[in-house]
Amino acid sequence: MHNTEKNNTQSYLDRLKKQAISQENYGAEIKYDEANIQVYDCPECGAARALGDGLTVCAYCGYQFMTVKLSDGIHIKKGNNS
């Protein structure tokens, strides 16, 4: 009797483990990306963004890269507004 209960517990745990492993992760699997560098040129005139001219508006054609007003963050500062 005691052995039967132990077997039941073990088989329950085995089933639970299998189910836990096979179930799809909520939010999907993690996609591992390498570190990379990109540049976001102006889609209107193709000019690059330079820090001196601000980051929110294209210094050449006036295209708005961002509609938000930048505030002080970890790396971006208020002074980076065009």
């Binding site: 745990l13 492993i21 993690i30 591992y32 560098i37 976001y40 963004r49 820090l51 970890i74 790396h75």
Partner: protein, 275 residues
Amino acid sequence: MFGFFKNKYDNPALLEEIRQTEEKWFVFLDKLETRLDELCSAAVPELIALFNEDSDPYKRAHSRMLTGLMGQISQMQQKAIEAKEEHIIPFMHASSAVLPDLISSAGRKYHDRLYRFQMACFDRHHQFEDKVNEGIAALRSTEGNADLEAVYQRQLTEFERIKDKFSCKQCGGKLILQKMFFIATYIQCPFCQTQNTYTPSTEMQMLFHQARSLAEQRTKHLLLIYEQSRPKNPALYQQYLRSMFDEWNKITPDMLEENERFYQRLLKDHSINHY
């Protein structure tokens, strides 16, 4: 006139019923405890194995299995509560209702017996709840043994490898990362002034969220010293907290200001007595 000649209240059937109900309750909880012990002792090695096997950084398979087991334990707890509410408490009230008055000598013996029954049943239930909590603590202790220091050192090596490997996407000029970034950051090209956007690898980004846990792992010996102090010494807690935040700031120096505010808040919260 004073009731001297009244027959003393005698109800052996009730005494027997109390004994039997108590015995049944004890046997029922013994059985539940045996199942609980069996489940927990068999589950702990399985959970540890799954934690080590689970390649997901958030150990989600392990969490799912743990949640399933907690559900099982919660069902056992619920069964005990239902049995108490359906059999023990109504029995107590029903029995007490048919007894003579408590202040009469006839009723006293039965009321005392019923009170002892109630205390024995409730104490047994508390013991069961203690066992449940021990079981849950044992299951929970299987998580959180990831070696974050090794992960951090691996990322430091990785950063040393990649820090001068990038070039400006506009002019091709060489870019050098001055420090380890954990979030996407603008890097200015020193030649054409273009703002390049550097995105760290996924693992490096995760490190930002693991920094506190890593700092806690590094300073857990100080927390242990505080927890073992009797009475609990707040100065030791402050020493632990300061060291933990210093370690945290070493890992993510950009968060120094925010972390300092958080440190002050935790220190303040700790000094408040919650009643």
